[in-house]
C-alpha cells in the first residue's frame, strides 16, 4: 500500500470538453482522485465513459477546461505544451496503452525502443543498455528476444516490452490503459503478476479498464466512471462486494464469474431500468 501517504497525483474537479461552440460537449465533470505513492487505483468505465480522456488529461495530451491536476505536488493544470514535454521527458508519469504495436516503433529493435527515453535524458548509451536489459529481465522477457522487432513478438511479449519501457525512467506513476484486454489468459496473468510486483516495489499505478474483473486482483482502490463522473470510489473489496451506486451494482452484477452468483438476470434488468429512468 502507500509508502508515506504523499499523493503522487492529485486531481480535483477535473473537467474536459470536446468540440467547439454548439458541438461542445462535456466528457468529464467534477472528477477528483488522489493517488498515493505505491498505491494502485483501478479506473473502471465502459465505452464512452471518458476513461481514456481522463488518462490523456493527466498526461497533458488533452487540455482540461476546469479543475486542477497536481503531479508530485506540482500544479500542472496551466502548463504550456512545452512545459508538458519537459515534464514527460523527466518520465515521472508513464503511459502503457492497450496495443503496444501502436506505441512501439515497428522498425526499431525492442532494445532500442527501450533505451530511447534514457538517451533523451542524456544517459550514456552503455549505461542505458545495461539499465534497459535489467528491466526486460524484470518483466521476464527472454534475453534472446532483445534484438527482435516488435512485429516479431507475440502480444504478451510486446506488452511486457511496453511495461519495461514505462519503467526505465523510474516513474512514480504509471497509467495503464486496458493493458491486458487484448491478451489471452496466460499472458494476462503474467502481466498482472508483474503489476503486483511493481505495486509492492512502491510504484503507483492507475489501471484503466472496462472490466472490473481484470483490475480486481491488483487494485487497492477502485473508481467507477459513468458518463464522465466518478459515481463510486472506494476500497476495491468494498466496491466489489457491496457496490452502492446502481451503475456500480450493474457492473459488478454483469461481470462473468465462475460461481455466477454476482446477480440474477432479474436483478440486472431492474438495475438497467433504474439507470435508464
Amino acid at each position: 500500500m502507500s509508502a508515506d501517504g504523499r499523493p503522487v497525483l492529485e486531481v480535483a474537479d477535473l473537467e474536459v470538453h470536446y468540440g467547439l461552440r454548439r458541438r461542445r460537449r462535456r466528457v468529464l465533470q467534477g472528477v477528483s482522485l488522489s493517488v498515493a505513492c505505491g498505491e494502485t487505483v483501478g479506473v473502471i468505465g465502459e465505452t464512452g465513459s471518458g476513461k481514456s480522456t481522463f488518462a490523456r488529461a493527466v498526461l497533458g495530451l488533452v487540455r482540461a477546461s476546469g479543475g486542477r491536476i497536481l503531479i508530485d505536488g506540482e500544479d500542472v493544470s496551466r502548463y504550456s505544451p512545452r512545459q508538458w514535454r519537459a515534464l514527460r521527458r523527466r518520465g515521472v508519469v508513464q503511459y502503457v496503452f492497450q496495443d503496444p504495436l501502436r506505441s512501439l516503433d515497428p522498425d526499431l529493435p525492442i532494445e532500442e525502443s527501450l533505451i530511447e527515453p534514457l538517451l533523451v535524458q542524456g544517459v550514456g548509451r552503455k549505461e542505458a543498455i545495461e539499465r534497459g536489459r535489467a528491466y526486460l529481465a524484470r518483466v521476464r522477457l527472454d534475453s534472446e528476444l532483445f534484438g527482435r522487432l516488435p512485429g516479431e513478438l507475440s502480444g504478451g511479449q510486446r506488452q511486457r516490452v511496453a511495461v519495461a519501457r514505462a519503467l526505465v525512467t523510474e516513474p512514480a506513476l504509471i497509467i495503464l490503459d486496458e493493458p491486458v484486454s487484448a491478451l489471452d489468459s496466460a499472458n494476462r496473468v503474467g502481466i498482472l503478476e508483474i503489476l503486483k510486483e511493481l505495486r509492492d516495489a512502491g510504484v503507483a499505478l492507475i489501471f484503466i479498464s472496462h472490466d472490473l474483473g481484470s483490475v480486481a486482483g491488483v487494485a487497492d482502490r477502485v473508481a467507477v466512471l459513468y458518463q464522465g463522473e466518478f459515481v463510486e470510489v472506494g476500497d476495491a473489496r468494498a466496491v466489489i462486494s457491496a457496490p452502492r451506486h446502481p451503475y456500480a451494482r450493474l457492473l459488478v452484477g454483469s461481470a462473468p464469474t465462475l460461481r455466477s452468483a454476482a446477480a440474477s438476470r432479474a436483478e440486472r434488468d431492474a438495475l438497467r431500468a433504474l439507470l435508464h429512468a
Partner: protein, 336 residues
C-alpha cells in the same frame, strides 16, 4: 484465422424455400416452432430428444503444410441445451465451428470423424442442401457484428431479406416479422432501428441485429463464436441474458465459444476446454469448474480466483461461513 465469409452473407445469399421434407432423424417436435412463423415467446423447450447437432471425433487438417490442426472434437447437442467451447486463439475452437457450418477457410478440410446436423451427415450434403440447412437449421454469430452487415443498407431491410429468402414471405410480411425479431432481441425502439444504418448503432445493438438475423428462419442451433468478446461487460451480460432467453423460450440449442471460461460457465450445461487443437477437458459445467482435471483448466480457474471478482465474492462468502455453494467451494479449495 481469417473470417472471410459471414453468417449474414451465408444466410442472405441462399435461394428460397425450406427443405421440402424434414430430414430422416429430424424429430417432429423440433419442427413445431419452425412451422409456426412468429414463434417469439411461444413454446416450451422440448423435452429429451435426439441430438440436433452431433460432432464425433472431428479432425481438421491444413492441406498446405499437411498438418492436423484439430485432433478430434466430440460432443452432442440436444434442443434447448448449451455447450461451451473454451480456448485461446489458435486452439481450434473457431475452426471447429466453421467445420460444423461447412465454411472452413480455403485449404482446411475435415480429415476425420463426422458431423450430423438434425440427423444429416454434412459430409454428404450438396451445395443446395447446405443452403437449405444454413439459417433454417443452423446459424451463427461472430465477434465483429459490423463486418457481417452491409453498411449501405438499412439493417431492417437486411433482416427482411433473409426472411423473404428463407421463409418465402412477401415484403410487407417480412418487414413485420423483422420488427418482431428486433423486439425479440430486446431492442428498445425496433421501428427506429429498422431504418438505421450500421454506423448509427452501437456494438451491442449491432450484435442484437445479427442475432435477430441469425434466428430469423427459426434455426434449431445457434453458434455464438466470441459473440460478446468485443462488448462492454454490462452489454455482454445483456447479450448472454438474451441467448439464455432464446434458449428457454424457443428451445434454441447453443454452441457458445469464448476464451473466457466464466462466460461459457454462465450460459452452458456442458463445457469443452480446447488447447492446441486438443480437447483437454470435457464435462458438465459444474464438474469442470469444481473438479478440473487438466492443468490448463486449473490455470483458467486460477486466473479468475486470483485476479478476478471471484476473489472478493468468494472471500465474502467464506467470511460469513454461509451460503448454499459452501460445499462446492470446499471441493474447489481441495483442488487448489
Amino acid at each position: 484465422m481469417t473470417r472471410t465469409r459471414s453468417n449474414a452473407t451465408v444466410t442472405a445469399t441462399v435461394p428460397a424455400a425450406r427443405p421440402a421434407d424434414p430430414p430422416a432423424a429430424h424429430s417432429p417436435a423440433v419442427d413445431v416452432p419452425a412451422v409456426d412463423p412468429p414463434a417469439v415467446g411461444s413454446g416450451d423447450p422440448p423435452a429429451a430428444q435426439a441430438a440436433v447437432l452431433a460432432v464425433r471425433d472431428v479432425r481438421i487438417r491444413d492441406d498446405v503444410n499437411d498438418r492436423e490442426i484439430v485432433h478430434g472434437v466430440s460432443f452432442e447437442l440436444r434442443p434447448g441445451r448449451a455447450v461451451g467451447i473454451v480456448g485461446e486463439s489458435g486452439s481450434g475452437k473457431t475452426l471447429t465451428c466453421r467445420a460444423i457450418l461447412g465454411i472452413l477457410p480455403a485449404h482446411f478440410a475435415v480429415a476425420g470423424g463426422s458431423i450430423e446436423i438434425a440427423g444429416r451427415d454434412i459430409a454428404r450434403l450438396t451445395t443446395p442442401q447446405w443452403t437449405d440447412l444454413r439459417g433454417s437449421t443452423i446459424s451463427a454469430v461472430f465477434q465483429d457484428p459490423a463486418s457481417y452487415l452491409n453498411p449501405s443498407l438499412k439493417v431492417g431491410v437486411q433482416i427482411a431479406e433473409v426472411i423473404q429468402v428463407k421463409s418465402g414471405l412477401r415484403r410487407r410480411d417480412a418487414r413485420r416479422r423483422a420488427l418482431e425479431l428486433l423486439t425479440a432481441v430486446h431492442l428498445r425502439d425496433p421501428e427506429l432501428v429498422y431504418d438505421q444504418y450500421t454506423y448509427e448503432l452501437s456494438g451491442g445493438m449491432l450484435q442484437r441485429v445479427l442475432i435477430a438475423t441469425a434466428i430469423a428462419a427459426d434455426p434449431q442451433v445457434l453458434i455464438a463464436d466470441e459473440a460478446t468478446t468485443a462488448l462492454d461487460v454490462t452489454v455482454q451480460a445483456e447479450i448472454l441474458d438474451l441467448l439464455a432467453d432464446l434458449r428457454e423460450r424457443r428451445g434454441l440449442a447453443l454452441v457458445v465459444v469464448s476464451h473466457d471460461l466464466a462466460v461459457v460457465a454462465q450460459v452452458c450445461d456442458e463445457v469443452l476446454v480446447m488447447r492446441a487443437g486438443e480437447v483437454v477437458e470435457h464435462g458438465a459445467t459444474a464438474d469442470v469448474l469444481y473438479h478440473p482435471r487438466h492443468e490448463y483448466t486449473r490455470l483458467l480457474i486460477a486466473e479468475h480466483e486470483q485476479y478476478g471478482l471471484d476473489r472478493y465474492l468468494a472471500d465474502t462468502d467464506t467470511d460469513t461461513g454461509a451460503g448454499g455453494g459452501g460445499e462446492q467451494r470446499k471441493e474447489l479449495d481441495g483442488v487448489r
